[in-house]
């Protein structure tokens, strides 16, 4: 017989679990991946780089491919990526990561090879190497961190800087008549037949992070199909050079960046 303290709910479908105390079993549902080196990362607070490093390393851990993965670090804020990802890595010259990746993947086609590049690295000085690697359909993953500025060299304009955006080399705002419009790399490269999977994602909210992680999981799986290049463009924030707090920067992505760089799949392989 229920006592007075225990009041049964009115709706039958409301099921109330017994109270959980601290002695109750908690299981760990999320932890920093073991494939990351256990050091503090040098990036600014809120920087998308460290977040994406974490996501890539999560995928490497989950797929158990640490022994088969080789990453190529760019020149830029993430030049020290090899200090944080516990995998074999090569440091490429500025813009040349896709050429370096080609050299590696051609000799070791069964390994997972990915480049990690920023705007200047991939879309300015490295555009030829990027385009030709994708055109050849090199079976690599290109992770393109797009934050619309050159971070490491403190905030110059990038090929992806938004029209009217203020940077140290466009102090009055990017003048489209002089410098051209921001380049939409994903749309450009998706046109190449060698591009197998092209998507643009962000990491400025929990759901965006989940989608980006899924994109990375797909891309790593696709490498074993040997059907072409996977390009994941990730709109990341740069709170320091955008002169915003990380939270403001996340909002800026949703409010401004996605107008020029709409998120979503641009080229999805059929039947995989």
């Amino acid at each position: 017989m229920p006592t007075e303290e225990h009041v049964l709910p009115d709706t039958a479908l409301d099921v109330i679990a017994p109270a959980c105390h601290d002695e109750e079993e908690y299981e760990m549902v999320y932890h920093k991946p073991s494939t990351m080196v256990n050091v503090a990362m040098h990036y600014c607070p809120g920087c998308a780089h460290s977040l994406v490093h974490k996501l890539i390393m999560e995928v490497v851990e989950e797929m158990d491919i640490q022994e088969k993965t080789i990453g190529i670090a760019p020149v830029g804020c993430s030049v020290f990526a090899y200090e944080y990802m516990d995998i074999d890595m090569q440091e490429a010259a500025h813009g040349r990561a896709c050429a370096v990746a080609t050299g590696i993947k051609k000799l070791m086609p069964d390994k997972y090879v990915f480049t990690y590049q920023g705007d200047g690295d991939l879309a300015a000085i490295g555009i030829a190497e990027t385009l030709h690697a994708i055109n050849r359909g090199e079976n690599i993953l290109i992770v393109f961190m797009n934050n619309a500025v050159y971070g490491m060299t403190s905030g110059q304009m990038a090929p992806t800087t938004l029209a009217g955006m203020h940077t140290t080399t466009s102090p009055d705002g990017r003048d489209v008549s002089y410098y051209g419009a921001p380049i939409k790399v994903s749309e450009l490269m998706a046109n190449l037949p060698g591009a197998f999977y092209v998507t643009r994602q962000a990491v400025n909210s929990a759901n965006a992070v989940r989608r980006t992680k899924k994109a990375l999981q797909n891309a790593f799986k696709y490498q074993q199909l040997h059907k072409g290049t996977c390009l994941i463009e990730i709109i990341g924030n740069c709170p320091s050079n955008w002169k915003m707090t990380p939270v403001e920067a996340s909002k800026f992505i949703d409010e401004e960046m996605v107008k020029t760089f709409p998120l979503g799949d641009i080229k999805v392989p059929k039947g995989v």
């Binding site: 709910p9 099921v15 679990a17 109270a19 109750e24 299981e27 999320y30 977040l51 929990a206 939270v247």
Partner: protein, 109 residues
């Protein structure tokens, strides 16, 4: 009795409890997690860590273990624990619901 803040009508749902651990020496106080947390369980500390950053402290009573904070954390400083997120729901039919509930609430009886 628990506070029924997680009551979702017409859905069989177990209320789960979560707990987070934060590596406060590596936290940079960027506050991306505080915005991601729906339960408002995270806040910036008053003190600073070794690097001079204010760090995040968690109110684990409010935590549901949804993992959102850890997902958005750029520095991977958050570890999340959760109680049995997918416990098998109790077999309940409208006829015997009162007996089932009684057993759960007062197991000794």
């Amino acid at each position: 009795m628990e506070d029924n803040t997680n009551k979702t009508a017409a859905v069989k749902e177990r209320k789960v409890k979560g707990r987070v651990e934060i590596d406060i020496q590596k936290c940079k106080g960027c506050e991306l997690c505080t915005t991601a947390c729906k339960e408002h369980a995270l806040a910036l500390s008053e003190t600073i860590n070794i690097k001079g950053y204010r760090y995040i402290i968690a109110n684990n009573d409010a935590c549901t273990g949804c993992v959102n904070c850890a997902l958005v954390c750029p520095d991977a400083v958050i570890t999340v624990y959760r109680t049995h997120p997918k416990k098998k729901p109790v077999d309940i039919t409208p006829e015997n619901i009162r007996e089932q509930l009684q057993t759960m609430i007062s197991p000794s009886k």
